[in-house]
């Protein structure tokens, strides 16, 4: 049967496609590639810390490696992975639409992403930037390394993000199937709506501020140079005005994934659809008002610090609403424990752990102790890797049959999930202890007493790498040897499972009529 994969097969048909599914697949392949690149950087970093002194790389290279690890992972993997990859593929299908609102712009966003990626990678190859992913001036405007291509690369990548956001919101408003109200949409669509708002309103502030650093670095404008009357704190405020909400760009789409997988695997309607949908906007809104918690030690009045601290803790309220709703959904459901759900269990554990330590660092007094130590590194890796990456892998397995038309290998899938979880905890849990004991982040050397925990962390990174490699190899092998996927392997009621696997070019064999909601598990599965 003709589907979106075999209707045209030339390379040009992919490069010139306006099909949101193909664009989504190309995004997924690209971000997976960058996950590997950023992962290799991380492995070298961990290897360097096997011993307190020099182990493998020079001090300069160490600075460059942690910068590039951060830049690649944040802007080339975490931010685009779920929205631009799975979002592009599934949003129109979930709404019963044939495509996103602006298919040509959608293709443009992919090319802009590639251009930004090439610029960034160009800055990596020769005299790579050593500023840290936060690009703080005045250092970033004076470093001898190639900060400019990396900064411009991130600026360009921002445009790709903005276009995706504009496209998603417009799609949700104008292309819902006949009769589908907002409150009938699958929850993943709500997550994408929330993230699009942040992408549209946050990204431009980052773009303009990075452009100003480019001017400082390349044309010696001196806007953030205190020696010439500039104020680097303004940079920090504007940078975090974007980069804190950016955390929610990285976590809201995973939350959407969790909502889909939990309901599908529990075969039960969500405990509260509205709680999940509305708390998304709570997070998106409050998330814009918390950026100051990155600056408690850079000079800030006690009143400001107090307000920012309390608002930051407020985010935990909305996150907790979601966590309780998900666990409540699993309670007394007919739960199928399959690989995606195993990843979701890992997600819940790591997200709660990372979130609770987040509440702790939002308290000013504690933050002053933990600031710029490995405690903070461990905290945000629990959220970004522990939660975002596990949700990405969950989504990859959950939707693999739909995207590729092949089933992954269940046994290998579960094995990969367990390895990733153990490797992750092994890598990052010791870092909480290290940070609390006072080991600063971004230092090339560390003192002897930290070595045992560092060795543990490095060993953990190998288990994590092994797990990811296993996932990659078995998934690719399933393309060759996997069983053919049925239309609905999970007995899910969500709409993307009503069309064949893989879907036809127009998403549904005929214009879909959604007579029941996406979570109506009390109704029988009707024939597609």
């Amino acid at each position: 049967m003709k589907n979106y994969l075999n209707c045209e097969t030339t390379i040009w048909s992919w490069l010139s496609t306006k099909d949101h599914k193909r664009i989504g697949v190309m995004f997924l392949v690209s971000v997976t590639l960058f996950l590997l690149v950023g992962g290799v950087f991380a492995l070298i970093l961990r290897l360097e810390h096997l011993t307190p002194g020099p182990t493998l790389v020079s001090p300069n290279m160490y600075n460059q490696l942690f910068t590039l690890h951060g830049v690649v992972m944040v802007w080339l993997f975490l931010i685009p992975a779920i929205p631009a990859g799975f979002g592009n593929f599934f949003l129109p299908i979930m709404l019963g639409a044939k495509d996103v609102a602006f298919p040509r712009l959608n293709l443009a966003s992919l090319y802009i992403f590639w251009i930004g990626a090439i610029l960034t990678i160009y800055g990596v190859l020769d005299r790579a930037a050593d500023t840290g992913w936060t690009f703080y001036p005045p250092y970033s405007s004076q470093t001898y390394t190639k900060a400019t291509p990396v900064l411009l690369g991130v600026f360009v990548l921002g445009w790709s993000t903005i276009i995706t956001g504009v496209n998603f919101i417009t799609t949700i408003h104008t292309l819902r199937a006949k009769g589908m109200r907002f409150m009938d949409m699958p929850l993943f669509a709500w997550a994408l709506y929330g993230v699009s708002i942040i992408q549209i309103l946050g990204t431009p502030v980052l773009g303009i501020i990075l452009l100003m650093v480019v001017m400082d670095h390349s044309f010696d404008w001196g806007l953030f140079d205190p020696a010439r009357g500039g104020d680097p704190l303004i940079y920090q405020h504007l940078f975090w005005f974007y980069s804190h909400p950016a955390v929610y760009i990285m976590i809201l789409p995973p939350m959407g994934v969790v909502s889909e997988i939990v309901t599908s695997m529990a075969h039960k309607n969500p405990l509260s659809y509205k709680a999940i949908a509305y708390s998304t906007f709570g997070i998106a809104f409050v998330g814009f008002l918390t950026w100051g918690h990155h600056m408690f030690t850079s000079g800030m009045s006690e009143l400001n610090a107090g307000i920012f601290g309390i608002l930051s803790m407020g985010v935990a309220v909305f996150s907790a609403i979601k966590v309780f709703t998900w666990t409540g959904t699993l309670y007394r459901g007919s739960v199928w424990i399959r690989t995606p759900l195993v990843y979701i269990f890992a997600f819940l554990f790591l997200f709660i752990f990372g979130g609770m330590t987040g509440v702790a660092v939002a308290a000013t007094s504690l933050d002053v102790h933990w600031h710029d130590t490995y405690f903070v590194v461990a905290h945000f890796h629990f959220i970004m890797v522990g939660a975002s990456l596990t949700a990405f892998l969950a989504a990859l397995h959950y939707w693999w049959p739909k995207i590729t038309g092949k089933m992954y290998f269940e046994g290998w899938g579960v094995a990969g999930a367990i390895l990733v979880f153990l490797g992750f905890v092994g890598t990052f849990f010791p870092q909480f202890l290290l940070g609390n004991a006072g080991m600063p982040r971004r230092y090339y050397h560390y003192s002897e007493q930290f070595q045992a925990l560092n060795v543990l962390s490095t060993a953990g990174s190998w288990v994590l790498a092994l797990g990811l490699l296993l996932v990659l190899v078995t998934l690719i092998w399933s393309l060759v040897a996997g069983e053919k996927a049925p239309a609905n392997p999970w007995n899910s009621r969500s709409y993307e499972w009503m069309t064949p696997s893989p879907p036809p070019k127009e998403n549904f064999p005929e214009t879909p009529r959604f007579v029941r909601g996406p979570y109506d598990y009390h109704l029988p599965l009707e024939p597609p």
Binding site: K98, L175, L201, I208, M215, L223, G229, D231, L238
Partner: protein, 216 residues
């Protein structure tokens, strides 16, 4: 006469939906643009709070007449564009093409006057980054900060005007060539949204760089 109707793309239900999507898309893009400029305005506000005196003197040093003339030129352009939309909806294409082109022309005049001002500054030895002999005579760092933000904000705005002039020229030519009718008016309206936005940004730059010159 061929009052061409825009093509309905395969994924939209009908033309009004498609027009609605295009308008919404532009509004969202403008929200993003507004935040772009808000970053720059924050920079200006923070530095003005740091250096109120020199910022005030710097504003007084700018040419109030040229700045105000430019404000009137941009606003007149926006008026033309609104009339162009009215004309197209009333199926008076020739008039609409003319008014759209006039808007583009106004943008061009604006850019010429802006460039003249920059040329005046540079003749005085004022360059971005605090370079030039002006800053030898006025060595307080705040002067360099003021003029660097001046070049940054007006330059970034001028890039938007330039893009707008290009779009207006293309739109006028497209309306003429395709002999478009009222059904395509939504496309002109979207161009208008962008152009009016660029104007509104100037309505903030005008006070910040020309009007706020008197001691409090």
């Amino acid at each position: 006469m061929n009052l061409a109707v825009p093509k309905l793309q395969h994924h939209f239900e009908d033309l009004p939906k498609q027009a609605h999507a295009a308008r919404l898309g532009m509004w969202l893009f403008l929200a993003s643009e507004a935040l772009f400029f808000s970053g720059l305005f924050t920079l200006y506000a923070a530095y003005r709070a740091h250096y109120p005196e020199i910022f005030r003197e710097g504003v007084a040093h700018n040419d109030l007449v040229l700045g105000t003339v430019n404000t009137f030129i941009l606003l007149t352009g926006s008026l033309f564009l609104s009339l162009a939309l009215w004309a197209l909806r009333a199926a008076r294409r020739a008039l609409s093409v003319l008014l759209t082109a006039a808007t583009g022309l106004a943008g061009l005049v604006y850019l010429i006057i802006k460039a003249t001002e920059w040329a005046h500054h540079m003749a005085e030895g004022i360059f971005p980054g605090g370079r030039g002999r002006f800053f030898v005579e006025n060595p307080e760092p705040a002067w360099a900060i003021f003029y660097t933000s001046y070049y940054g904000l007006t330059g970034f705005h001028a890039i938007h005007v330039t893009v707008g002039v290009g779009i207006l020229a293309w739109t006028a030519w497209w309306m003429h060539r395709e002999r478009v009718g009222p059904a395509a008016a939504y496309k002109l309206a979207i161009v208008g949204l962008y152009w009016h936005f660029v104007d509104i940004v100037w309505l903030f730059l005008w006070p910040l760089f020309y009007l706020l010159r008197n001691p409090a």
